[in-house]
Subunit: 225 residues, 2 copies
Amino acid sequence: MEEVKLFRTWSSPYALRIVWALKLKGVEYETVYEDLSNKSSLLLEYNPVHKKVPVLLHNGTPICESLVILEYIDETWNTTARFLPKDPLARANARFWAKFNDDQVASLVFRAYVSQGAEQEEAVRLALEKLDIVEKQLSGKTFFSGESFGFLDLVFGWIAKYLGIFEKTGGIKLLEEERYPLIFAWIKRFCDISVIKQNWPDQNKLINKFQLMRDYFISAAAGCS
Amino acid sequence: MEEVKLFRTWSSPYALRIVWALKLKGVEYETVYEDLSNKSSLLLEYNPVHKKVPVLLHNGTPICESLVILEYIDETWNTTARFLPKDPLARANARFWAKFNDDQVASLVFRAYVSQGAEQEEAVRLALEKLDIVEKQLSGKTFFSGESFGFLDLVFGWIAKYLGIFEKTGGIKLLEEERYPLIFAWIKRFCDISVIKQNWPDQNKLINKFQLMRDYFISAAAGCS
């Protein structure tokens, strides 16, 4: 009997990737909800380097970093459709854009989200430049992964819900349908997939949570200036 | 007839990973040397997102990001020994530590290298904390990849030469043999591998190059303070 446990918070978009992946593969697992303001000794033991969620525990061995976990799940439970394509070039392409999302898009959007005034305006401008590049990636495609849903859709999936939360609670506008028609159309298709539709955290709880988080960042930044 | 071209600078440690990988696999390729202060139109065309080296061009298609290129090479020319292990757990482990090197070790060492005074002292302290974690990874192992040389040794390979260059030109001391006996022993083994030994850039040229780069960063930072 396999032991699969997912250490997550209820609100983390990185953990959500793993929820989607496990459910899409049909893997039975147990969820351990963490409070990052009071991390469990197990989380610190399983992810001593970063002390972050998500952590996947498989038969006693922890795997950390959401992109690494996604590839692990894809290689381990490989009887159903694979998230990553088989062709080395298509795989390299998927890994390149996944890294681009995590290093550039997500970090700039977050910077825009937790800043104010002129700093926020500049961060929004830079985030939009990255989203322009994301928009181009959807040109001629149904999903980020191509004709069908795959690895890159799991990676970019946060955009479908969290950008809206950031807009509502951060006083910024990022996704205009006129500028991003392909992302808008992809969001509709993505959110129609049942595993995606069924596993979003509660919208109002997310708004409350991120409002508090932003207030915390803004006041911390004010204390440093 | 295959076309394989590597766009690199003579001094980039990230490009050197790809040189080692191609030579270890016995892949014939052409080198295009770039000057990053005057990037070629081909580099801008092949890596429009990051405009950086290395770029591998394979039969007309560019692949960017050195970790992505390493996996591509491993999956494409897979007749000789694989860089990555076959076991999904060992593969996840390799990807986790590769990301740790690039995101944490290399970036903190670089910050220590291009700063001064109290900022440098703090960056050195943080970089040493990361190197302590790297040291632990070698416990009971011959190479980062285990009993034999592999993916993670290509990833951590820069430590064997560039840390010394940063020390010489940045006025910092990072690698003390007493604190890092396993890294020291690994460096000797790593540098004994013929493909590694034969492909380092010239030491004096590296010292000149990085001295100039550091001067540039320090004066740019001074202009902003």
